[in-house]
Each structure stands twice: as structure tokens, then as C-alpha cells.
């Protein structure tokens, strides 16, 4: 930086402070996020002041009300036209209120609500000393296997903090896809990641594995965040601004008025390419795309299953939303640079996820690799760079998140003495013992495999169609091949459940409370409705397919 530039920085900063007015915040349009974050704070107060016995009920009540209210707010905004005609950028350029934002926020809120039901389930684990317990550790701070842990279990403690943590995560996820400048993006990323790291460590059973998963997730996630932050710094150097619109203008070369402080670096392609790549890297990490997928199987396996389901669904929705906005709003001008890279990522993600999944013997790891393959399919839609591409991705995410939560909810039901029986060999003959549970899980697997008349097929067709329309026909062919590979391991599980002889000491299927039943029921219903009559939701997604700039 030249001395002149430094000087101008000083003089700019020294400008009369009086000029800074009060920020104009459209509270109404930000209400979904504000409600959820507000309720999370209420949840913290509940932890502090409500007696231990009634905390669970108070927390569940607060969380359900908050998520419902936030969803109602999203619907109200959408019906007001904020998704289409009144789409605009709110909160001093920090948040975009537009179709994709509202659609994804609605999806995240519904997924979170269904996920919350699985968090609140307290009938699966046998009662400990007369107290009903959920899937979470009695006391997170107590060392696994220690006396203090036993004391906590004996006292019937439960970690009701999971509910405010969930709400904080949801709050961050609501902001993430609607963030309209890079700093908001980063803050949202951290706001939803940190609670998730914590949630991963809270399993009641197999606590060491759970803590190991959390540490892995945290370390790798911190790396990814650092990459993102560095990328943001470089892009700031490139464009002189963190605002999406401003960066896009610089990329397009339509910018007027160059900040003299940055005149040296501004417009340097190296900064743009490296910075853009680093931010995209961070987002691909959250999405779980190959080669940034390493954390996925370990974390999915170690985390408490309700958390895994919620994380697998909602994180993916939020992260793909942010990725779409970044690629479509900030970097459309350089799509000839990022498209080949994303092609490669999509191809190795689809193939890698599908091929490695074949060798898995743990149902949660299998679903983890399956989620990687699905990230690849969704990337095919992202690459389409068209309005159809956006709406197909939105539709896919909506269908996928409910299948995922439902599938993980079923995993929580199959149990033996050591908790959930996640090893595949234990699932043999499940169809004989509990035909209904096995049939429901088969529906989810068929949806993952993309069999017609399920949401998986409609979604896959939508993204592949968009990709083919966008000139990515080879990607479609590779997608189809990896679908065939993926079908193999989904079917293997079905074979195991229905055609294998049950083992004598096999697991039992716990009878859940209505909460988990609702979660699974919603999953099945959404899967079939989106499979048989997707038109209404496709319309919704295609109305929501335009980003505000």
C-alpha cells in the first residue's frame, strides 16, 4: 500500500463522525430470524431460572412456539410478495429478502421443527432411575465413565440446553442463505456452526465417540472457517467492499468510483480467484462435497442421531443456499472460471460418495456417504447457472431434508442393549419383526435412490433437467451412473431388512412417543406428496428462483 493510500485511509476515517446516522433496520422483514434468536435467548433464561423438573417442558414449548411463529412470519412475508415483486435488500445491505431466502428459511424452519421433535423424544432410552431421558448426555461437563457422570445420571439430569443450542443454530442458518455481504455470511456461519459442534458432543451413549466426532468437526470446521475468512479478506482487497452487489459490479467491470486506499489491489484477478475459491471452499466444506467431505462420516456417526438428522438436513439447505447466492449474485460474471472447477467437484462428489458408500457397514456412516453423493447431485443443479437451476436446487433441498430427518429418526428406533444398533448386520430380518418400521425405512431408501413416485425422483429429475438444459449433459450421464451405483447400497439395506433371516439376539424396535412418530410421518408424507404431486411445490420453487441483486 502506498503512502498516499494510507493517507487517504486516515483522512476517510477522520471524516466527521456526525455523518453516521442511525441504521435503518426493517424489523418486520427480519422477523423470522429475530423470533428464533429471541427465543434462543429466552431458552437460556429458562435454563437459568426455571426449576430443573419443568425445564424440559418449558424449553420444548418455547422452541416449538418460536419455530412455528418464525415459519408463520416467513409465510406472511412470502404472501406479502417479498419473495417476488417486493424482493429487496434489507438491513443496510446485510440481508437479502427474496425468493430463495424465504423458501430456504421456510424449509429450514420446518426441518428444524421436525428435527426438534426427535430431539425431544424421551421414550426410546430406558428410564434411568425412574427419570425419562432423551438422547443427550446427562451432564455434558462430566467426564465419561466418571463418578460425577453416574451421579448426574442418578439425579436424572438431562441436557435441556440442547433446545436453545438448536435455536441458535437455526437462527444462524436462517441468516446464512440470505446474507448479502461477506461479513454477515461469516457471522452466520459461525453462529450456526458453534452450537452444532457442541450438539455433536452431547450423545448419552458412546460418549467418547461423540466427543471425538465433535472435536473433529470443530477442528476441521475451524479450518474451513479460517479459509472462508481469509477468502473474504482477499475479496475485500479485490473489490474494496464486502457487499455482494458491489463485488459483482467490480467483477463485471461496471463499478464507478474507486476507493483510492485500495487502488493498488482493486481489480486484481489473483485476489478474486484465490479469494473466491477460498470462500467457496468453506461453503463446500459445510455442504460435504468431495474433497472437503472427510468430516462427514465420523461426525454423522458419532453425533447423537437426532442431531445428525437435523444437521444433515438443515446445514445442507443453508449451505447450498449460501453457495447459490454467492455463485449467482457475486460471481456470475466469472462463471467461466468457476464452472469447470465445480464440474470437477460435482463429478468426484457424486462418484466418490456413491462408491465409498458401498463398503460401509454402519447405517449412519452409510447415510453420511449417501448425503455426500446427494450433495453432488445438487451441485449439478447449481452448475446449471439458470433460474431453473436455482428452483431445482430449492426443490431438491426441500424434499431431501425431510427424507433425511425421517431416515435418521427411524435409525433412533432400532435399538439393542447398547443403545442404537447402527451396525448393518443387526438390521437383518427387521422386516420380519417390525414390517411397518422396515417398510417406512424402505420408502426413505427408495427416495434416496430416486425411484419414481418419491420426492427423490422428482428432485433428481429437476436438477438433472436443469443441468442438461444448461449444457452439462455429461454431468447428467455421470449423475445417472452414480445413481445406479448408489442404488446398489440402498437396495442392499432393503435386502438385509426383508430377505435375510432375523438374528436371534437382534435388536428390538422401540415404540416411540408421538413426537418421533410425527417426525417420521411427516417425512413419509412429504416424500410421497413431492413424488406424486410435486407441481405446487415446483411452482413455489420456481417463483422463488430469482435472487435479488
Amino acid at each position: 500500500m502506498s503512502t498516499a493510500a494510507v493517507h487517504s485511509l486516515w483522512t476517510n476515517a477522520a471524516d466527521p463522525i456526525a455523518k453516521i446516522g442511525a441504521p435503518k433496520i426493517e424489523y418486520g422483514q427480519l422477523s423470522p430470524t429475530l423470533i428464533v434468536l429471541g427465543a434462543a435467548l429466552v431458552g437460556v433464561l429458562v435454563e437459568a431460572f426455571v426449576p430443573r423438573k419443568s425445564r424440559y417442558y418449558a424449553q420444548v414449548f418455547v422452541s416449538v412456539v418460536a419455530l412455528c411463529a418464525a415459519f408463520a412470519a416467513v409465510v406472511a412475508l412470502a404472501s406479502d410478495g417479498y419473495g417476488t415483486t417486493k424482493a429487496h435488500i434489507a438491513a443496510m445491505g446485510a440481508i437479502a429478502v427474496d425468493g430463495p431466502s424465504l423458501f430456504l428459511q421456510g424449509t429450514i424452519l420446518l426441518a428444524a421443527l421436525v428435527g426438534l421433535f426427535t430431539f425431544a423424544e424421551r421414550r426410546l432410552d430406558p428410564a434411568a432411575h425412574g427419570n425419562r431421558v432423551d438422547s443427550f448426555a446427562a451432564q455434558a461437563a462430566s467426564v465419561p465413565g466418571s463418578d460425577s457422570e453416574q451421579a448426574a445420571v442418578k439425579a436424572g439430569f438431562t441436557t435441556t440446553e440442547v433446545f436453545p443450542l438448536l435455536l441458535f443454530a437455526v437462527g444462524g442458518m436462517l441468516v446464512f442463505p440470505s446474507a448479502n455481504d461477506l461479513l454477515t455470511l461469516f457471522v452466520a456461519l459461525e453462529v450456526f456452526s458453534l452450537p452444532l459442534y457442541l450438539l455433536c458432543a452431547l450423545a448419552r451413549r458412546k460418549r467418547l465417540m461423540s466427543q471425538e466426532a465433535a472435536v473433529k468437526y470443530f477442528l476441521l470446521g475451524a479450518f474451513a472457517s479460517a479459509f472462508t475468512l481469509f477468502g473474504i479478506a482477499l475479496l475485500y482487497g479485490y473489490a474494496g467492499s464486502v457487499s455482494y452487489g458491489r463485488i459483482a459490479q467490480v467483477v463485471d467491470g461496471t463499478v464507478t468510483g474507486i476507493d483510492p486506499a485500495l487502488a493498488d489491489t482493486m481489480g486484481s484477478d489473483a485476489l478474486l480467484l484465490i479469494g473466491g475459491a477460498m470462500i467457496v471452499m468453506g461453503l463446500l466444506f459445510k455442504v460435504g462435497a468431495v474433497p472437503f467431505h472427510m468430516w462427514t462420516p465420523d461426525v454423522y456417526q458419532g453425533a447423537p442421531t437426532p442431531v445428525t438428522g437435523f444437521m444433515a438436513a438443515a446445514t445442507k439447505v443453508a449451505a447450498f443456499g449460501a453457495l447459490l447466492r454467492l455463485l449467482y449474485v457475486v460471481l456470475p460474471g466469472m462463471r467461466w472460471d468457476w464452472r469447470p472447477v465445480m464440474w470437477a467437484v460435482a463429478i468426484i462428489t457424486m462418484l466418490g460418495g456413491a462408491i465409498v458408500a458401498i463398503t460401509q457397514t454402519d447405517i449412519k456412516r452409510l447415510l453420511a456417504y449417501s448425503s455426500i453423493a446427494h450433495a453432488g447431485f445438487i451441485l449439478a443443479g447449481v452448475i446449471a447457472t439458470s433460474k431453473d437451476g436455482v428452483s431445482s436446487v430449492l426443490f431438491y433441498l426441500a424434499g431431501y431434508s425431510f427424507v433425511t430427518i425421517g431416515a435418521f429418526a427411524v435409525v433412533t428406533l432400532v435399538r439393542d442393549a447398547g443403545g442404537e444398533a447402527t451396525h448393518l448386520s443387526k438390521w437383518a430380518g427387521l422386516g420380519r419383526r417390525s414390517p411397518l418400521v422396515a417398510a417406512v425405512f424402505a420408502v426413505f431408501l427408495l427416495a434416496f435412490a430416486g425411484i419414481p413416485l418419491t420426492s427423490g425422483f422428482a428432485g433428481k429429475f429437476a436438477v438433472f433437467k436443469a443441468a442438461a438444459d444448461g449444457g452439462a449433459a455429461p454431468l447428467v450421464v455421470i449423475g445417472v451412473i452414480s445413481s445406479a451405483i448408489a442404488a446398489f447400497f440402498y437396495i442392499r439395506v432393503i435386502v438385509l431388512m426383508f430377505f435375510s433371516e432375523p438374528k436371534p439376539e437382534g435388536p428390538t424396535v422401540a415404540v416411540p412417543s408421538p413426537l418421533t412418530m410425527v417426525a417420521i410421518g411427516v417425512g413419509v408424507a412429504v416424500t410421497l406428496v413431492l413424488g406424486v404431486a410435486p407441481q405446487y411445490f415446483l411452482d413455489l420453487a420456481s417463483q422463488a428462483g430469482v435472487f435479488v441483486r
Binding site: R432, I451, A458, A473, L538
Partner: protein
Amino acid sequence: MSFPLLTVTAALPALGAVATAAVPAARRTAAKWLALVVSLATLALAITVLVRFDPGGARYQLTESHAWIADFGVRYELGVDGIGVALVALTALLIPFIILAGWHDADPLETGSRRWRPTQGFFALILAVEAMVVLSFEATDVFLFYIFFEAMLIPMYFLIGGFGDRAHEHGEETASTQRSYAAVKFLLYNLVGGLIMLAAVIGLYVVAGNFSLQEIAHARATGSLHMATSTERWLFLGFFFAFAVKAPLWPLHTWLPNAMQESTAPVAVLITAVVDKVGTFAMLRFCLGLFPEASKWATPVILVLALISILYGALLAVGQRDIKRLVAYASISHFGFIIMGIFAMTSQGQSGATLYMVNHGLSTAALLLVVGFLISRRGSRLIADYGGVQKVAPVLAGTFLIGGLATLSLPGLAPFVSEFLVLVGTFTRYPAIGIVATLGIVLAALYVLVLYQRTMTGPVKPQVSAMPDLRVRELVVVAPLIALLIFLGVYPKPVTDIVNPAVKQTMSDVHKKDPKPEVEAAK
């Protein structure tokens, strides 16, 4: 709006499947009767369709069209031409026999869980397959067809993997392993075929913008839709691959012997006589209808593959030791004939092929169901375990013989007419292939007659000596099929009258006229 007859014909078995599956575990017999009544009612509806269909009328009749998924350009469009009508009728006709023949196939051996209901599941799955097959014969929207073409794999998969022959030489554990192997092989082959077709379906959408068979054909005829030659060929290959797996055509056939060997006889009939017909039907309707130029381009290769299927299937049938595998390879040989007839691009060949689809359904059903009765008595599928059956069970042996003779296309039985037409149709355009294909008939005589000789004649084997003859239920299954085989063998006109106009239209799709030898001689 007129009465949606075609929808109802498919919806009835679908609803019947749900109702059958919902019958309580203890009321097993009620579930069977419910399934039978539903299948008979569906047959009545199919006959109504047949009666209301006017062979001289419009190409697609009884049409229905509703908006479905506008975003994908998909409409819920149904309509039948003569070929579709014949195959819907065949399907609806065979299902009651399949249900009756499989009456005791799914009775639970041991009572598992209180909620384990294999019997209800078995009959519900059969009805579900019927609904999907009927819909795929009726769909005139490519996407709609594709959905049911793929979705029918799932109930079929459970039928193959979940239910097998009672007695097995290696015990239940091995049997169940082999069954799930066969089921997975079936599913993977067909799923891969289907997914490759999915890529072509998406490609078709990118090119044409909608999926309506009639609209696309119209747009191509008027020239408003131009398809580059290479595009058309790629799309054709995508579609054809899926249909060739389903049909099955050599070298994509290897799933069929496994699937037929491991499943019970009624399910084997369902596979080869009903579900596989969707493959050959779709070649006529979609390959020729959508991609006429590419079809002509691919004809030489496909004819050679069909010829290999005919000879290879027949040769392997001769060498089989397992009765059901033998019938499976015989079927592969017959599918070769059907595909040869379709791609010979003559009206005789295509009429013959369509007629062959119907007749092969009837003859295979007759033979396989009797084979099933035989196997259920002795508890073995191996030819060597039988001998002298005709002395202890003459009616069984007699029906077995007629089914076998129909399979080898004896004049006077229905398949003869169709095989003859296919050969004549092929010969007029491709004499060499027609001549070589005739070898298939000779081999057919060999495998059928040797099978009969080894199992039915000769000294009575001790394990066979107490074998009871056909029961009333079994006779009710076999007698009508044999009557139909003889009737259509003597008087095929009712079927050809329905089929011929549709074949003419298919021929005009590909702009092919029958070769006229005298005109060419005048040149």
C-alpha cells in the same frame, strides 16, 4: 368429460393392492379372495376396453389428458392403440390365473411376528405390478410411461426376493441367499437400464420441450421439431438399452434365468409373460415412434443381436438341468423372435411380433404354471428328479405337453401363427437372417420334446409314484389357457384385426413400406 375407463382399469388393481395389504394377519383366505375378485373385475374392465376399442378408428382411443407436472412438461395422458389394447387384455387375463396358481405359494411356514403378513403382501404386490404394467401400456406421455416402467421394479423385486419355492435341495438358508441374489440382480440390471433411459428422457425434454408422444410425433412430421442425427441416435440408444434389458435381449439377458429360477412359478409367469412385454411393447411404441430414423440406422445390429438371442437362448435351453431355467432360456429365444419381428420393419413382421407377445404370454403361462404344479408336488426343479409322470398323473402330463408344444410353435396352436408371420416378415427383407432364425424352431422342438421325454415318459421314479394329478383349482387355471391357445391357433383373426391397423401406423411412423419384390424386379 367421458368416463375415464383407462384410469379406472389401472386404479382398480392399485386400490385392490392397498385393500389386500390391509387385510388383518389372521384373515389370510379373505385376502386371497379379495385379490382374485379384484383381478377378475379388472379383467371385466379390460374386456370393456377391448369392446369399446374401434380398430378402424383413431390411432389412440379412450384418451385422457390432464395437467400433471407442468414444470417438467409432463401430462397425465393415456390412450391405447391396437397393440396396447391387446397387451392390456393379456395382462388382465393372466393375473387371475397367476393369483389362482399361486394360491398357496405365500402361506407362512412358521408364524413369525404377529404383524408379519406374507400372504397379504404377496397378492397385494401382484396387483400392484398389474396396475403399473397396465398404466405403462396405456401411457402416451413418455415421462408417465417412464415412471411406471421404473416403479414396477420395486414390487417385482419383493416378489422375487421374498417368495420362493417351498422345498429346496439345499435348505432354506441357501434358498433365501440365492433368492436375494436373483432379486438384486434383477433390480440392478433393470435399474441401470432405467437410469440410462432417464438420461435419454431428460435429453428428449431438452430437445422437444414436452413428453407427449403425439405432440412430438406431430412436431417431427411437420418439421417444427428438428433433431440432429447424432442426438436422435444417442436418445434412441438410451431408450433401447432400457427396453433391451427388460425384454431381455442378448447380451443383457442374464438376470432372467436367475430371476425365473428362484421365484415361484406364478411370479416367473408374471416376469416373463407380463412385465417383460413392457420392454418389447415400448420398443414398438417409443423407439420406432419417437426415433424412426435412428431405429432404421440401428436395425442391422439389433437384428443380429435378436438372432443371437434366438439361437443362444435355444441352445442353452437344450442344455439345462433345471426346468425353470430351461423355460427362461426358451423365453429369451422367443423374445429374440419378437424383437426380430419388430425391427424387420415389415407389417407382417410387426403384426407377428405383436401377436407373438400375446401368444408367448399365453403359452409360457400355460407351460410354466404346469411346471409350477409339478415342482410343488415333488419339491425339486431338476429334470433328473422326474420320470414317468404321465403314468401317475396323466392330466398333468397332458397339459404339460400342450404347453410345451405351444412353446415349440406347433401348427394349430397360437404361437405358430405369430412365429410364422415373424419369419415371413423378416425373410422378405432380410432373407439370410430369416433362414438362420428358422434354426431356432428346430432347437425349440429339441428342448421341449427332450424335456417331456425325460420327465413324463419312461419308468416311474419312486419319488414320483405317489404324485397326485391336477386338482380342480389347478385345472381351472390351465384349461382356459389351453383352450385359448387352441382357439387362437386356429382362428387368430380377432387379435390380428385389432393389431393390424396399429401396426400400419407404426410402419408409417418409420416411413417404411413393405418390400414389393415384383416392383424391384421391374427396375
